[in-house]
Symmetry: C3
């Protein structure tokens, strides 16, 4: 797996130039790249399809766009950077004075060298995004502008990868594919989820089925939820996984507002704690990525969101500075390993009964206890055995035993395996 | 309402000279002043009436009192300050040497310029209160003393103002009227409750009925509880509302020792938090003002106490320094506004069902969502909408949504109104 | 009781030279010393008896042991200190070169002047423990060694003292008697438990029955649990009670991992808080002393462990430095008083109903209220009365009232007695 980070970075380099939006050929091209690495079922949902309170929008495609100044010089060109066009801009070709044009120009005055990323999906509009410095240099006069786009009936496209397991109950891994040339948000999420699917696919056996969704934000998850039977036991929304920041976990609505914490939240937090690295944890809020939909009260799924720096909290967010330099193969690799560790907890978490519950069993005669001396590692293994024995009363799963003992889930799982091998434990439900 | 603070201060100026106690004409004169501003039903309960474990005491009245020194000079005179007489002093007129007199004199050695406030309601006694400096200057010799009081069968007097609402369930607002010339404790409470009743009376509609009690401390609330059917859903005991200190809230017994917090406690704390000002919050203790009786285990009403500086925690407490200079119209005004904000929460707190619970509804097509840009206030309004939609699952009332979101109750109530207007919510119980 | 500390110290001086182990005459001699002070039933359980997953081991006894260096000089001698022999060493008498001998020698390189304490109960072995400095001075050559021990069928010995009370429900006090010449661990526990039994025995009446167990660690508690019907409501494991450290309490498994805290844990923590001294409190972990067995999931008894410095956390632990200088009569006395205070809470904790639950009763006419003035102590007594009255609703026991009020259990118990005397309370269950 050492090379996985490099692999993911190269994938992002290839996908970076593509102009994605919530519909259109950019999404199709991106899904084609993913399909080179994992099996992917592509769905096309026609414009106009009702999905809960929403309607699948028209499909948007774009070939080019520019602004020519009064002297005919192209001062803004879609060819240079696809962020230059307000996403979902209707086609337009006209001449107009600077004052009128200005109402369609978006800049970031406090980050004057960067191009912002802006959209107008559900209100027909057109516009350009550009560095504030460029705006300030524009001379008065008449400008010619062109947006060579189409907004017409077509379809919304998304990709799905289902890895069947021993159970039909599913782990959902959802990531958005609707952003144009932005690396951390969200080519990083796409790349890490693709590689995670590869890793899980390579396993001989899976306890759960795993469903990966590569979907446009908001309308994509709404469309998927409207068209499918939901069998999700645990889920994560993936994004912002390539930046240099520490991990942040946003808990599911169930944990934040329900009676008891969801297993997915306990699993992620256990992995982050065991890493020894600093990390952040936030309560659920009803805004962010597609966890908004999965955690709407009519579904209330156990879905959290595991990212590095959360959206909106890094200065490069939604600007042209979220580029190939902002992310690294090391960060991507670390993100993949963390997601894998979480999946290992979900796969391995069980509830057992101690079959010798009255007093401790004699571990020594079963070869599970050190002799007179003993190293630190041996002592830690013994403590893990004692924790599993003491708390395997049907009330505590291994994850809770890890939490209570302060030991890693892996150490507790290993102890349970050793005890199973000598018939001191039995699985319970 | 800007002038309410001045109005309350003027009321206190008029009521300040009156010598109040737990019975007697001072209480009647004070209730007459209140009745100038709000409708008030006056009750007279005869001495000797049994009220639970207690008996309504004899009525006490006083016309004058003094101490003359050996040279016949009046060194202490009730005319100067009614705190000079131990409240409920039996009548006495005699000559006695200083040594004997001293046993009836009360001073504050560590605040030598102030007159203390002392009472002896349930044990017949007489006494004078005076500055310690005065005591120290008294020459040896024979003194003449007079207390021209009466302690005889009569009645206990209290006032009640009931503002009927859509429901017969009541909000109780209770304040004590038994203290003589002390401004913060408790002419401030009397003044703010009087003005609060005026404000609520002026409203075209009230969800709850509001019952204001102007009663002598302890025996007054015991008497009221013994004589009335209790229909109280929420209640507050008001006192110490004119001093310059920050607000303090003492929770109801239900919140401190029960399973879940009472709505009145959540409402007050929500208002205090939203104020942005520092404030104090204490758990229930079975001593203080009349919340002791309302929260006795046989009633266990949801009654807390909202004050500025709590009793006993300011040096002027129960001394002649609790005078007209210690309180201000600004503090009174702020207290009134805070009580009104709490009543607004009680009036507005409801539980709703999101009628579009599967995924978010499309707010944009209902005119509830900003276009491309948008100001901070618009963003906050949107977040409030999302919070209300996400948590309106029948488990959370608006107050809890305010608590969870960190937004003010007013902002959440406004969002609920906007969603009700487009039929996205329905009230539930 | 002032002389109890001295008494306990003298007991330890007599017991210190005895070579104890989990079986053998050293245990019998120690139990004989205890029996001089309290009634003690001695049990002998034959080697080979199955006890749950374990088997009672062979009995071990030792008469002497030494190492002679190549010049015939005794460099290590059991007569000097019984820690010199690995406990449960099989008999051996042979000549061998230093290199081979070294594999049977145990030292503490980081505490080079101290002899470590080591055992090998369940794996047949022999060995010597000695200061690291001695080891470093041993010349090359052939050594003669002797361990004059026997390991043969016999029995496991333990002592039991049952003090019957009004109820057959028991308080368990368990302490281990298997350590050789180590004072804090655990002659201090043995001495304090012996004295505690004497104190409780001297009482005319006991609410609970008290069972004191003087047992070898692990195998002793397993043997007792296997052979007896368990009627234990509350329990403590006693050890490390003579060192100069502060008290530490390890909670029972019920408190740490169950729904609500066990009364024994609340009792101990209440006493430690009321002491005003610093103390430590730890959650249950499934290792330590015999609470491991009492709190195994098949029993899950309400048994915690109250010690001074916990095992392993002082440098003298399990070394020859845990000697008569390390402990003091003052520390032993303080430990005894603390255990007695805990027993007083268990004896006195009850649940009452306030028979005058509507409003406060009038305490004044029952002589329970101060007149006009009043001292601090009188005020505290009144507050205790109000706390007991307010919380005696059948939901709170006196211990919880002490916790909620921040007052000592003794003060709350005294208030309850005063209220019982005037028929304001009634016991409930």
């Amino acid at each position: 797996m050492g090379a996985a980070g490099e692999e993911m970075y190269r994938f992002i380099e290839r996908a970076y130039p593509i102009c994605r939006s919530i519909t259109g050929d950019g999404v199709r091209q991106t899904l084609a790249l993913i399909r080179e690495r994992i099996p992917l079922e592509i769905s096309e949902v026609p414009s106009g399809t009702p999905v809960f309170d929403w309607t699948v929008p028209k499909e948007w495609n774009i070939r080019g766009a520019w602004i020519k100044d009064p002297s005919g010089h192209k001062v803004v060109d879609f060819q240079d950077c696809n962020l230059h066009v307000l996403s979902y801009s209707v086609p337009v070709h006209e001449r107009l004075p600077l004052a009128e044009l200005r109402e369609h120009l978006f800049t970031l005055p406090d980050k004057p060298d960067l191009i912002p990323y802006r959209t107008s999906y559900y209100r027909e509009a057109w516009g350009f995004c550009l560095p504030h410095r460029t705006l300030e240099c524009l001379p008065e006069g008449e400008y010619e502008i062109l947006i060579d786009s189409t907004l017409a009936d077509g379809s919304l496209t998304y990709g799905e990868c289902l890895l069947p397991g021993d159970s039909e109950r599913e782990v959902l891994l959802s990531t958005h594919v609707c952003h144009p040339s932005l690396c951390n948000d969200n080519l990083s999420g796409i790349a890490v989820m693709t590689e995670l699917a590869r890793e899980l696919q390579s396993r001989p056996r899976r306890r759960y089925s795993y469903r990966f969704l590569f979907i446009p934000g908001t309308i994509g998850s709404i469309t998927w939820l409207a068209r499918n039977e939901v069998r999700i036991d645990h889920g994560l929304v993936a994004a912002n996984l390539g930046d240099p920041g520490t991990f942040h976990y946003k808990k599911s609505r169930r944990s934040s507002f329900g009676i008891k914490p969801a297993e997915i939240d306990r699993a992620v937090l256990s992995v982050l704690k065991a890493s020894g690295e600093p990390f952040g944890a936030d309560e659920f809020v009803p805004f962010g990525y597609d966890e908004r939909q999965y955690c709407s009260p009519g579904f209330n799924l156990a879905v959290g969101s595991l990212t590095r720096t959360p959206y909106g909290r890094y200065p490069e967010y939604h600007t042209s500075a979220d580029d190939l330099d902002f992310i690294s193969s090391e960060a991507l690799e670390g993100s993949l390993r963390t997601y894998l560790a979480v999946m290992d907890v979900l796969e391995g978490n069980r509830r057992y009964l101690n079959l010798n519950p009255q007093c401790e069993p004699q571990l020594g005669r079963r070869g599970l206890y050190r002799a007179i001396g003993g190293d630190e590692a041996g002592r830690a293994r013994e403590l893990a055995l004692l924790w599993v024995l003491n708390l395997s009363d049907g009330e505590h799963d291994l994850l809770e035993i890890a939490e209570r003992s302060g030991m890693s889930f892996a150490a507790i799982r290993e102890a349970a395996d050793a005890l199973l091998a000598v018939s001191l434990l039995e699985e319970t439900s």
